[in-house]
């Protein structure tokens, strides 16, 4: 059976692989055969992904017979999958012979996962090594290894698009006739010989274990911005990887990169849209190992395979995602308008640090958007946690994807590129926002939280590195009453890494929740709640991830308006309610969150309004200097402490205010964070911070409590 063409997408064309499967175990052989045949019928058709289409499967339980068949006709097979332990011939021997004589890709199969054997397979030239029991997604992934190897080979020989994209998914815009398949395969086979030395490396490059020898494309905000721009310009329907690539006009970027990125984004979107619990769980584990976009593909494939109760092709997912993009773009425009209306001076306002908040390229392959998506769909996701019922994705209307109250948050969506910003919903929406925000990334937590706002998990908090003001803890302020105050913005525009890793070990992300708390609920009551909440969720203020890498700030330093948002490294436990310092002009507290420059401004205004610079400085300390010995931790400790302690004085004080804080720091127009920090350091030196209560150890929030 030869696959004639691809369903649905003219850009793709399948490469029908003729596979020879060898295994002495009849059960496994039967399973393998069926899996392979399944690859014929279920090939993903998507311009972004490779497709493993099997055109024929031949099976034998004897290695000698296999060898005979291979030798009979040189071009009879495109791929050999062989068991390692066979009675009549060792699998490795077969591998050698096949490799030597035929230069066919061979995949080893074994119930034994002993790494030594795996190495043996690799050194003998196996294309890959599968461990029984095999799953269909593994086969599909392997195919990518095989194809890529060929692709690399062919690339070396031929620069044309046809060649480089000659693997199934790549035929964008040009449909290489299937008939040419054999030729291509033959060519590939020959080329493979030439690049034998490289094959190992190539294989490793595409290992799904995340280790890569070649540098892979890192999707920085800039790059992502371009990506989004391209998508927007092309229009939702026409945004295919090839066109996106052309439009992006980035040197060194390949169509493959773009395709992968697109996939990853869609994948993340899928993750966080309402899904049955099972799928969600699957993604949870898969995403943890999201070492590369190859894994993303694996996830997507697995996703399809595991969709027991509904079929959700990638294509449909892509459509859905595009619809979502559409919707987001309208929301983003609205947000932009609002922002403009509120007189936000700096476009930085729109920055959403959240993307970088994840900061973990590995886990999300740099798809910040995904992170955003995370935050944006929390409700949906959470909602789904409790309803494991099967959902037919096709029936999901676009509206289910985006929670209305969170839609604004999603302006951070792709469309906004650097302008992503999360708009804080109005106070009455806070609860949902909280809930929504919660899922940040600890999917485990999500799973267990069942929708309850449990912010403890966010210590990695990639998403919310908002500068929640520590003051939020104590003060019942409604700092950011204005709808524009966007706690999420606090997150931190990822634009500028803090100078010199100032944030060093401070990984406590700004939690938007806390921000939220502060924002949404100015009353004392709230504050109480927050405090309670924080009691409930003591967090280490600074989690492992280097703060600086996650909190790049963009340059909102020029924003002199009083910024209500106080950036604070707060333990994720946002519920601890970081109350925002009460600014008289709450309106101005637009969130330049995450802007270090803003911090000083905020600090200034805060101190102006509050008791003085001391507390602000304290906060600044914490915020700015992970390395600063006393301040930050003190502040942190303070927070924690305050939280656990009586609330009383917080009303007046910023929670973080320390009576003993150096008070000499007057609000000044620090030109840069550096200046501020330097000043603080200096102050520190000058003063003794005799705060016995603050144990400056690890800034652990918990310790403070």
């Amino acid at each position: 059976m030869i696959v004639e063409g691809i369903r649905g997408d003219a850009e793709n064309f399948p490469v029908g692989m003729r596979v020879l499967a060898v295994d002495d175990d009849p059960t496994c052989l039967k399973l393998l055969e069926t899996l392979l045949r399944k690859c014929h019928y279920n090939g993903f058709l998507n311009s972004a992904m490779s497709t493993f289409i099997v055109s024929s499967v031949t099976t034998t339980n004897q290695a000698r017979v296999a060898l005979k068949m291979i030798r009979e006709k040189k071009d009879r097979f495109d791929l050999v999958i062989s068991d390692v332990h066979m009675p009549d011939m060792d699998g490795f021997k077969l591998l050698e012979l096949v490799g030597l004589e035929m230069d066919l890709p061979v995949i080893m199969l074994s119930a034994n996962s002993d790494p030594k054997l795996v190495m043996k397979g690799v050194t003998h030239g196996a294309c890959d090594y599968l461990v029984k029991p095999i799953r269909i997604e593994e086969l599909r992934n392997i195919w990518q290894h095989v194809i890529r190897r060929k692709k690399v080979d062919s690339k070396n020989q031929n620069r044309s698009n046809d060649q480089t994209e000659a693997h199934p998914a790549s035929g964008e815009g040009h449909g290489s006739p299937l008939a040419g398949n054999t030729d291509q395969n033959g060519k590939f086979n020959r080329k493979r010989k030439d690049d034998d030395d490289e094959t190992e490396d190539n294989d490793n490059e595409y290992e799904d274990n995340g280790t890569q020898k070649k540098p892979r494309v890192v999707w920085t905000i800039e790059l992502h911005r371009k990506f989004v721009q391209a998508v927007n310009q092309l229009g939702i329907e026409k945004a295919v990887p090839k066109r996106i690539l052309d439009m992006m006009n980035v040197e060194g970027l390949t169509r493959e990169n773009v395709a992968s990125h697109l996939q990853a984004i869609i994948l993340l979107d899928l993750c966080f849209s309402p899904l049955p619990v099972k799928i969600f769980v699957f993604f949870k584990t898969a995403i943890k190992h999201f070492g590369s976009l190859m894994d993303a593909k694996k996830i997507i494939f697995s996703f399809e395979c595991n969709s027991c109760n509904f079929s959700y092709t990638f294509w449909a997912a892509l459509q859905k995602y595009r619809l979502y993009l559409k919707r987001i773009s309208t929301v983003a425009t609205q947000q932009a308008n609002m922002a403009a209306a509120l007189g936000v001076k700096d476009s930085g306002f729109m920055h959403m640090g959240s993307l970088d908040g994840f900061g973990d390229f590995r886990t999300f392959s740099g798809t910040r958007l995904g992170n955003v998506a995370l935050s944006s769909y929390p409700g949906g996701m959470l909602g789904r946690l409790n309803s494991p019922g099967n959902v037919n994705m096709r029936n999901l209307t676009p509206s289910t994807l985006v929670q209305p109250s969170l839609a604004q948050n999603l302006s951070s969506s792709i469309n906004s590129l650097g302008k992503m910003h999360l708009v804080l919903p109005t106070s009455n929406q806070t609860p949902s926002l909280f809930q929504g925000i919660q899922p940040s990334l600890e999917l485990d937590q999500l799973q267990h939280n069942k929708g309850t706002a449990n912010f403890t998990s966010i210590h990695n908090s990639r998403i919310f590195r908002t500068g929640s003001t520590g003051a939020a803890l104590g003060s019942s302020n409604n700092l950011l009453n204005s709808p524009m105050s966007n706690p999420l913005l606090l997150h931190g525009n990822t634009q500028q890494p803090l100078s010199g890793g100032r944030f060093g070990n401070q990984s406590a992300p700004f939690t938007s929740e806390s921000f939220n708390n502060g924002v949404s609920d100015p009353t004392n009551e709230n504050w109480q709640n927050r405090v309670d909440a924080s009691k409930m969720h003591p967090n280490t203020l600074l989690s492992a991830e280097p703060f600086h890498s996650q909190l790049p700030l963009n340059g909102l330093r020029d924003n002199n308006s009083s910024n209500g948002t106080y950036l604070q490294n707060n333990p994720i436990d946002l519920s601890s309610g970081l109350a925002l310092p009460p600014f008289e002009d709450s309106r101005e507290m637009q969130c330049q969150v995450g802007q270090m420059g803003d911090v000083q401004n905020m600090a200034q205004s805060w101190s102006e309004q509050r008791h003085g610079s001391g507390s602000v400085n304290q906060k600044m300390d914490m915020y700015t200097g992970g390395r600063l010995s006393g301040g930050a931790s003190a502040l942190v400790q303070q927070n924690g402490k305050l939280v656990t302690e009586s609330i009383p004085r917080s009303n007046e004080d910023f929670l973080f205010e320390q009576p003993k804080l150096p008070s000499g720091l007057t609000p000044q127009g620090y030109d840069s964070l550096d200046d501020l920090v330097n000043a603080m350091i200096k102050r520190e030196k000058d003063e003794t911070v005799a705060n016995g209560e603050f144990a400056f150890d690890n800034y652990s929030f918990g310790a403070g409590m």
Partner: protein, 177 residues
């Protein structure tokens, strides 16, 4: 009446389906089957409706053969541990492909004993002095697990047949593990 008949049919198959789900869930819970079995179920489709039955049948036949082999080998004067290892390895592979988790685990345990014989790594006198005994024990364990899962699978597949005969659809399993 016609309506009544249909209703009864639906009811009947519904009951069967519920039984099926409960039964299969119990199997998963007890570790007799794992996610791989679900994978098998998913491979079943219109073009391949008997896939699961076929594969499971193959598994039974092959396993029986291997178990017989193992018994024979262990009965010999000089036990050929390499042969035992190879057989157990194969059984491990096929049981894992089916999703027969406990059989697979028993095989793993079995193999570790065999390895011990070869490398004499065990410090336990009992093992060293009575390797055959240990292997026999292991074999027994494997056999037990195999027979257990065989019975259960057969019952499960029978239920499937009944469901289909009653006009119902075999529910897709979810991995409850």
């Amino acid at each position: 009446m016609e309506i009544g008949g249909e209703y009864l049919e639906i009811l009947g198959s519904s009951i069967l389906m519920t039984d099926y789900l409960e039964y299969s869930n119990a199997l998963f819970r007890e570790g007799l089957l794992d996610g791989q079995f679900i994978q098998l179920q998913m491979l079943r489709d219109d073009s391949n409706p008997d896939f699961v039955v076929e594969v499971v049948t193959l598994f039974f036949e092959d396993s029986q053969r291997i178990l017989n082999e193992l018994s024979k080998t262990l009965d010999e004067q000089n036990v050929d541990f390499k042969k035992i290892d190879a057989n157990v390895h194969q059984l491990k592979g096929s049981s894992s492909s089916i999703g027969a988790q406990r059989v697979r685990n028993a095989c793993i345990a079995f193999r570790s004993f065999c390895d011990a014989q070869d490398v004499e790594s065990y410090g336990f006198c009992f093992f060293v002095l009575f390797p055959d005994q240990m292997c026999l024990r292991c074999l027994q364990q494997v056999k037990q697990e195999y027979l257990l899962v065989k019975n259960k699978l057969e019952a499960l597949l029978r239920l499937e047949q009944q469901i289909v005969a009653a006009g119902g659809v075999v529910p897709t399993l979810n991995d409850v593990s």
